[in-house]
């Protein structure tokens, strides 16, 4: 009897749980051919070629800026953090090991910088960027009414500020499409299963905050 109950539970719960985990997980990362180039640049940087920081900056400045901007709600503060992150990358270049994906390493540094900043600064009112600064090409079904975009962006930034940092970072990095589920879990220092739970919780909270 006990065995049949277990079988029943397994038959019903497993598909439900796996479906739920799939919903909460991160979509596959965009294929980037820059991984190898980043690794080469890091090796050059570690050897003392400061110029090698330039291509890394060119590739990652926008994803980092977007992450910091949405996490802090301020474009100016986000720019400062982007520079601090690259200064840190330069200083830590000789400790980078190519076994880890560069994005994982970079965003782990970025998140540490963000945490320092959040500890340092008090919460400030959000300052959405002008709608024309947002690239909406990846967002389907959007009309380009600038006023509406601005309102929606302000609403989103305010809601994001009210999420715990870990949930906010998980949601922002997952939405960026630059990270696989496993990479993002490594960046945030959690297990892939735990990341699914964090993302699910973050999406639920955000939905409530935005409704």
């Amino acid at each position: 009897m006990v065995l049949s109950l277990e079988l029943f539970a397994a038959a019903w719960l497993n598909p439900l749980l796996s479906g739920w985990a799939a919903m909460a997980s991160v979509p596959p990362a965009r294929e980037t051919s820059s991984d190898e180039e980043d690794t080469v640049c890091m090796a050059r940087l570690a050897a003392g070629e400061t110029h090698a920081l330039q291509p890394i900056f060119d590739r990652w400045k926008l994803p980092l800026l977007t992450y910091f901007y949405r996490a802090l709600g301020s474009h100016a503060d986000a720019e400062d953090l982007v520079l601090q992150t690259f200064a840190r990358v330069h200083r830590a270049a000789d400790r980078y090991r190519p076994e880890a994906r560069f994005t994982t390493w970079l965003f782990a540094i970025a998140r540490r910088e963000l945490l320092h900043e959040l500890r340092r600064q008090r919460r400030k009112p959000v300052e959405p960027v002008p709608p024309e600064d947002l690239d909406l090409s990846l967002v389907s079904g959007q009309t380009a009414d600038p006023q509406r975009v601005r309102e929606a962006e302000e609403h989103l930034l305010s809601a994001l500020q009210r999420l715990p940092e870990r949930e906010r970072s998980a949601l922002l990095l997952a939405s960026s499409g630059d990270h696989s589920h496993a990479d993002l879990a490594t960046t945030l220092g959690v297990s892939p299963g735990n990341l699914s739970v964090i993302l699910h919780r973050a999406r639920e909270k955000l939905r409530v905050l935005l409704s």
């Binding site: 977007t66 200064a87 600064d133 909406l136 509406r148 960026s176 935005l210």
Partner: protein
């Protein structure tokens, strides 16, 4: 005449959550300029060793706590160190060791018994010899 104004209103409404996927379009030239300046500064300044980096990354409060913990551990080591007598070998005085020396002289003839083969022979010797 607009019979149903709602569809157009709904069409222009934007779901804020969908903006999560929207990136910033570009960075301001100001950021590129600041990065260029920073990169030149980094090129001029030699990279600091890892331990100095670690220290620089800590806040003053963290460093204060670490220093306090180190002081407590060092003080604890000094205070609770087991007392050990670290004197050298005592001075030799024949008068003081007279009894020991005479015992040594008495036992000296039995020294060959320390030889292993001889000791085994003695041990295995019959208790009541026939002769």
């Amino acid at each position: 005449m607009d019979q149903n104004p709602e569809p157009s209103k709904a069409k222009s409404r934007i779901d804020p959550e969908s903006l999560l996927g929207a990136r910033l379009r570009t960075v301001r030239p100001e950021l590129d300029r600041r990065f260029e300046e920073m990169r030149r500064d980094l090129a001029r300044t030699p990279r600091r060793p890892a331990w100095l980096e670690w220290l620089a990354a800590r806040s003053p409060a963290q460093l204060g706590w670490a220093a306090a913990a180190a002081i407590v551990v060092a003080a604890g080591t000094v205070v609770f160190r087991p007392a050990t007598q670290s004197g050298g070998a005592p001075d030799f005085d024949p008068a003081e060791y007279g009894e020991l020396l005479s015992l040594n002289d008495a036992l000296a003839p039995a020294l060959p018994l320390a030889d292993r083969d001889l000791r085994s022979a003695v041990i295995e010797m019959p208790v009541s010899p026939k002769s």
